[in-house]
C-alpha cells in the first residue's frame, strides 16, 4: 500500500500541477511541496521497514489483466528502497532547482518533472515484468518533452537520438518479456522462474546496456546530458541510468542464471571497456557537463562490473555506488547549471579563477569533486572498493582496469576542478558574478550531507540492501518456479 502511495503521490501531483490554474511561482511551490511530501513519505516508510527480512515490504498485488497473467505488483526489498530514495531525493532537488530558476510554461514543466519522478519510483518498485516495462517506458514520455522543449540549442537532435536508442533497446526487451512471460504463463517476478534462453537474455541486456549506457551503446549520452536542462540532466544521469542497475540486479541475475554464466565474460569486458573508455573521454571533454556525462558513463561501467561479479561484495558495492554516483552526478549537474547561469557557458576555455571571492562555490565544487575521484575514506571509495574486491574474484584483470580508472577519475576530476576554480580568470567569468546563494545551497547541501553521512557509515546501505545471508544467496533464492 505504501509503495503504491509512493508511486501515486508524484503522479497525482503531476496531474494537479498541470490542471490547477496557479501562477508560475505558486505552481513551482506546489510542485516542490509534492516532491518534499514524497521525500517525507519515503523517510517515514523506513520506520517499519525490515531490512534483514527476505520478504517483500509494503507489497501490493492486484489482478490487472487475467488473460495474459499480468498483475499490478509492486513492493520493496532493501536495495529497491535505496534506489527509490535516490529517485525521490534527486527528484526533489531537481524540482527545487527548476523552481529557483523559474521555467516557462511552469505548469507543464513541473507536471512533467513530477510525472518523471513517479515513473522512476514505479520502475524501482516493480515486481511484475509488465509493470516494470510500463514505468520504464513511461519515463521516456516526460524526458522526451522536457529535453525537447526546455533544452539547449541542439535539443531536437538530442531527443531524437535519445529516444531512438532507448526505444530500440526497450522494444527488444518487450519482445523478450513477451516470450518469457507467455511461455511461463505469468509475468510476476516472484513466480516466473528462470530461463536458459540466450535470446531472451540478450533482449533484456540490450535495453539495460542502452540505458546504463555500456560501450558501445552510449551514442545518445553526450547530447542528451548536455542539452537537457541541468535539473533534468541531474535526474537523467543520477537516477534514470539506475533503472539499468535495477533491471540487471532484479531481472537478469535471478532469472537467467545460465546465460549470465555464459555471457559473464562478455558483459564484464564491456563494463570494463565502458569504465576505461568513459574515463578517457571524460578527461578530454571541453566543458563541465561533458566531463560529468562521461564520468557518469564510466561509473555505470563500474557498477555493472560489481553486478556481474554476482557475489556479496560486488552487489553490495553496486547498490552503494549507485546511490553515491546518483547523488554526486546530480549535484554536479545542478552545480554546472548554477555556474552556467553565472557565466553563460560551461566551457573550460572560458571559465577559471572562480574560487577567488566565491568561497562557497569553491568548497562545493571541491567537495563534490573529491567524491567523484573517490578519495580514500569517502563513500565513493567504499563503493568502488567493494565492487573491485568483488570483481577480483572473477578475474584480476577487471580489478586492474578498475583501479586504473580510479587514477583516471582523479585526473579528470582534478582537471575539472582546476579549470573551474583556479588558473587565470576566464573570459566568461565576470568580476561581479556572485557566490552561491541560499536557495542554491538548500539544494546542494542536502546532497553533500547525505554523502557525508554515507562516508561515515557506508554500512548504512551495504548492510541493508539484501537480507542477512548476503546478496548472492538472496538472488539465487529468487528462482521461483524453475523450468526444464
Amino acid at each position: 500500500m505504501l509503495t503504491t502511495l509512493l508511486i501515486v503521490v508524484p503522479l497525482a501531483g503531476a496531474i494537479l500541477t498541470w490542471m490547477l490554474p496557479l501562477s508560475r511561482e505558486s505552481t513551482a511551490g506546489f510542485a516542490l511541496l509534492v516532491a518534499l511530501a514524497e521525500v517525507g513519505l519515503w523517510l517515514g516508510s523506513a520506520r517499519n521497514f525490515d531490512f534483514g527480512s527476505d520478504a517483500q515490504q509494503y507489497s501490493a498485488n492486484r489482478e490487472w489483466f487475467d488473460q495474459l497473467g499480468i498483475s499490478y505488483a509492486v513492493g520493496l526489498y532493501g536495495f529497491q528502497y535505496w534506489l527509490v530514495g535516490l529517485a525521490v531525493v534527486v527528484g526533489a532537488c531537481a524540482v527545487g532547482y527548476g523552481a529557483w530558476v523559474g521555467r516557462e510554461n511552469a505548469r507543464a514543466y513541473f507536471g512533467l518533472l513530477l510525472f518523471l519522478v513517479g515513473a522512476l519510483v514505479g520502475v524501482f518498485a516493480a515486481q511484475d515484468l509488465i509493470v516494470f516495462y510500463v514505468f520504464f517506458e513511461a519515463m521516456l514520455i516526460p524526458i522526451y518533452v522536457l529535453v525537447g522543449v526546455w533544452g539547449g540549442p541542439q535539443r531536437l537532435k538530442a531527443t531524437v537520438t535519445f529516444v531512438i536508442y532507448t526505444m530500440v533497446g526497450s522494444l527488444l526487451m518487450l519482445a523478450s518479456i513477451i516470450a518469457f512471460g507467455i511461455s511461463q504463463g505469468t509475468f510476476l517476478l516472484s513466480e516466473i522462474g528462470t530461463s536458459s534462453n540466450d535470446w531472451i537474455f540478450l533482449g533484456f541486456l540490450a535495453a539495460f546496456a542502452v540505458k546504463a549506457p555500456l560501450f558501445p551503446f552510449h551514442g545518445w549520452l553526450r547530447l542528451a546530458y548536455t542539452e537537457a536542462p541541468p535539473e533534468v540532466g541531474a535526474i537523467l544521469s543520477g537516477v534514470v541510468s539506475k533503472a539499468a542497475v535495477f533491471g540487471l540486479v532484479w531481472i537478469v541475475l535471478p532469472h537467467f542464471p545460465e546465460p549470465v554464466e555464459d555471457f559473464r565474460t562478455l558483459v564484464l569486458a564491456l563494463a570494463a571497456g565502458t569504465l576505461a573508455y568513459g574515463s578517457i573521454l571524460a578527461f578530454r571533454q571541453p566543458d563541465i557537463r561533458g566531463v560529468v556525462a562521461y564520468s557518469s558513463m564510466a561509473q555505470m561501467g563500474l557498477i555493472v562490473l560489481g553486478i556481474f561479479a554476482v557475489n556479496d561484495l560486488g552487489l553490495d558495492g553496486a547498490v552503494l555506488h549507485s546511490v553515491n554516483h546518483g547523488l554526486v552526478s546530480a549535484g554536479f549537474f545542478l552545480l554546472a547549471g548554477m555556474i552556467e547561469t553565472r557565466t553563460g557557458t560551461g566551457r573550460f576555455s572560458e571559465l577559471g579563477g572562480m574560487a577567488k571571492g566565491r568561497p562557497v562555490l569553491a568548497t562545493l565544487v571541491l567537495t563534490l569533486g573529491m567524491f567523484t575521484l573517490a578519495v580514500p575514506g569517502s563513500t565513493n571509495f567504499a563503493g568502488e572498493f567493494a565492487i573491485l574486491s568483488g570483481v577480483f574474484d572473477r578475474g584480476w584483470g577487471y580489478a586492474a582496469v578498475g583501479a586504473a580508472a580510479m587514477v583516471l577519475a582523479a585526473l579528470y576530476a582534478l582537471r575539472m576542478i582546476s579549470a573551474i576554480l583556479h588558473e587565470r580568470r576566464g573570459a566568461a567569468v565576470r568580476e561581479d558574478a556572485g557566490d552561491l546563494v541560499g536557495n542554491e545551497l538548500m539544494l546542494l547541501v542536502p546532497l553533500v550531507a547525505i554523502l557525508a553521512v554515507l562516508t561515515a557509515w557506508p554500512a548504512g546501505i551495504t548492510d541493508r540492501s539484501f537480507p542477512a545471508d548476503g546478496g548472492a544467496a538472496f538472488i539465487a533464492s529468487q528462482e521461483g518456479v524453475s523450468t526444464p
Binding site: 487475467d66 514520455i141 531512438i164
Partner: protein, 488 residues
C-alpha cells in the same frame, strides 16, 4: 401463399435505428428550414447512432449463443453486437466532430450518408452469408464514395471520391468473383453451410477464398491493397476520413475474421499464412511510407495501413486470444484515430488550409487541451505504456507468440520502433519549435474559436485511450464473450 421467414427484429434493430435516422435526416434536408437544418441533422444522427449502440448492447446481452436469423442471412451473436457498438460510437464521435465543420451545402445529405454508411457497417459485421455480406459491403461503400466527394468545391475531394469509387469497385469486383467461385465449388451461400459442404480440395474453392480475402483487404487497406488509402484519406473531408479510418477497419476486420473462421476453418493453414504476409507487407509499407509524409492526413493514412498490419497479425493468430486481441486493439485504435482526426479538423478549420507537420507547429501551446489529446493519441498509436495502444500491441504479440509465430513478434516490434519516427515527429511539431524560439508564443489575433462538441469528442477519445489501459480487464471480458461466438 408464400412462406415468409420469421424475422428477428431485435437482431435487426441496431441497423434499423440508424436507417431511421438516415431517412429522417434526408427528409429534414428537404423540409426543415435552412437555419435549423444542421441542428436537426446532428440531433437526429446522434439519436439514431446512440440508439443503435444501445440496442446493440441489448443484443449483446441476449445473444450468449450465436443464432442464425432471417434464413441464415445474418448471425446474431456477441461478436457482431460488439463490433456494432464500436461502429455506432465511432459514428457518434464523428457526428460531434463534424457538427462545427462550417459546411454550407449538403448538410442534411452529409449526415444522411454518414448514417447510411454506419448502418451498412453495422449490418455488415453480422452478415452470415455471401449475399448479405456483399450487399452490406456495397451499401456502406457507396455511401462512402459519395461522402468522399461531397466537398464539390474542392478538386481534391472529387478526386478522392473518384479514386475510391474506381479502386473500391475493383475490390468489390474481386470479392464478388471470389464469392461466385466459392458458391460454384460448394453450392452454398451461408458461411456455416460453406464449411459443412466443403469440397475443400477444389482449386477454385481456394482461389475463391483468396479473392474474398483480397477484396476485404482492400477495405481494411492492407498492403499491397492500400494504394487508394493515402489519396482518399487526404482528399476526403476530414470527418469522413476519421469515420473511414476507424469504422471501416472495424467492420472489414471483424467480418474478415468471421468469414475466415466460420467458412474456411479447414483452410486455416493457407489463409493464416496469407494474412500474415498481408500483415508484414502492411507493417513494412505503412511505416516506411509514413516516415516520409508531411501532410498529416497522409501520415495518418499510412499509419492506419500499419495498424491494419498489427490487426491482421491478430487475425493470423487464428485463436480465441487473437480474436480478443483484435477486438481489444480496435477500441484504443478507434479512439485515437477519431481523436487525432478531430484535432486535425480543428486545426484545418482554424487555418483554412491542409494541416502539415509545419502548420501543426505550436498547437500544443496555443490550444493546450487539444495538444495534450493529440500527444496521447500519438503515444497510444506508437504503443507507449499508460495508453490502450500499448496493451493492444502487447495482447496481439502475445496471441501470435502463443500461436507459435515468434518471428511475427520480432517484425511487429521492429515496425513499432520504425513507427516512433513519425509519431514522435508529430509530438515534436506540437510542442517543439525549431530554432531558438521557445514554446512561449501565443497565436496572433487572439485565441482561436472553440468548438465544444469537437473538444468533447477529442476528450472522449482521450478518456478511452487512457482508460482502456487502466480498465483493460472489463474490456477484455467483453471481447472474450464476443470471441466465444466464433467456432475455435
Amino acid at each position: 401463399m408464400i412462406d415468409t421467414p420469421s424475422v428477428d427484429w431485435l437482431a435487426l434493430s441496431p441497423t434499423l435505428a440508424i436507417l431511421a435516422a438516415t431517412g429522417l435526416t434526408l427528409l429534414g434536408a428537404v423540409i426543415v428550414p435552412r437555419a435549423s437544418e444542421r441542428a436537426f441533422s446532428v440531433a437526429v444522427s446522434l439519436a439514431g447512432l446512440g440508439a443503435s449502440a444501445a440496442l446493440s448492447g441489448v443484443v449483446f446481452d441476449r445473444s450468449a449463443d450465436p443464432t442464425a436469423v432471417v434464413v441464415q442471412s445474418m448471425t446474431r451473436d456477441r461478436l457482431g453486437a460488439l463490433a456494432a457498438i464500436v461502429i455506432a460510437l465511432v459514428g457518434v464521435a464523428v457526428v460531434l466532430v463534424s457538427a462545427g465543420d462550417g459546411r454550407r451545402s449538403h448538410v442534411g445529405e452529409f449526415y444522411a450518408l454518414l448514417c447510411a454508411a454506419a448502418g451498412g457497417m453495422v449490418f455488415f459485421v453480422s452478415s452470415g452469408n455471401l449475399m448479405t455480406m456483399f450487399l452490406a459491403l456495397e451499401w456502406f461503400s457507396i455511401s462512402l464514395y459519395v461522402l468522399c466527394a461531397l466537398d464539390t468545391h474542392r478538386r481534391q475531394s472529387l478526386e478522392a471520391g473518384l479514386k475510391y469509387l474506381i479502386v473500391g469497385s475493383f475490390g468489390s469486383g474481386i470479392l464478388l468473383f471470389g464469392c461466385a467461385l466459392v458458391y460454384g465449388a460448394t453450392g452454398e451461400l451461408g458461411f456455416k453451410a460453406i464449411q459443412e459442404a466443403t469440397g475443400a480440395d477444389d482449386p477454385l474453392f481456394v482461389t475463391g477464398m483468396a479473392m474474398i480475402l483480397a477484396g476485404l483487404a482492400f477495405k481494411v487497406s492492407a498492403a499491397p491493397f492500400h494504394m487508394w488509402t493515402p489519396d482518399v484519406y487526404q482528399g476526403a473531408p476530414t470527418t469522413v476520413t476519421a469515420f473511414m479510418a476507424a469504422a471501416t477497419k472495424v467492420a472489414a476486420l471483424v467480418l474478415m475474421l468471421r468469414i475466415l473462421v466460420t467458412a474456411f476453418p479447414e483452410q486455416a493453414e493457407i489463409w493464416s499464412v496469407a494474412v500474415a504476409v498481408l500483415a508484414v507487407c502492411s507493417l513494412a509499407i505503412g511505416n516506411l511510407a509514413a516516415i516520409a509524409q508531411t501532410d498529416l492526413k497522409r501520415l495518418l493514412a499510412y499509419s492506419s495501413v500499419s495498424h491494419a498490419g498489427f490487426l491482421l497479425i491478430a487475425v493470423a493468430a487464428n485463436s480465441t486470444a487473437g480474436t480478443e486481441a483484435l477486438l481489444y486493439y480496435l477500441v484504443p485504435y478507434c479512439a485515437a484515430t477519431v481523436g487525432a482526426f478531430a484535432v486535425v479538423a480543428a486545426r484545418e478549420r482554424e487555418q483554412g488550409r491542409a494541416v502539415t507537420l509545419a502548420s501543426l507547429e505550436g498547437l500544443g501551446w496555443e490550444r493546450p487541451f487539444l495538444g495534450v489529446c493529440m500527444w496521447w493519441f500519438m503515444l497510444s498509436m506508437a504503443g507507449f505504456p499508460l495508453t490502450g495502444g500499448f496493451l493492444g500491441k502487447l495482447f496481439v504479440f502475445s496471441a501470435i507468440y502463443e500461436a507459435g509465430w515468434w518471428w511475427l513478434v520480432v517484425i511487429g516490434v521492429l515496425a513499432t520502433a520504425l513507427s516512433l519516427a513519425y509519431y514522435l515527429n508529430v509530438v515534436r511539431a506540437l510542442y517543439m519549435r525549431s530554432g531558438e524560439v521557445r514554446g512561449d508564443l501565443v497565436v496572433a489575433g487572439g485565441s482561436p474559436p472553440r468548438d465544444l462538441l469537437l473538444e468533447a469528442a477529442a476528450g472522449a477519445g482521450l478518456v478511452v485511450t487512457i482508460g482502456s489501459f487502466f480498465f483493460v480487464q472489463p474490456l477484455v471480458d467483453l471481447a472474450s464473450d464476443a470471441a466465444a461466438s466464433l467456432p475455435f
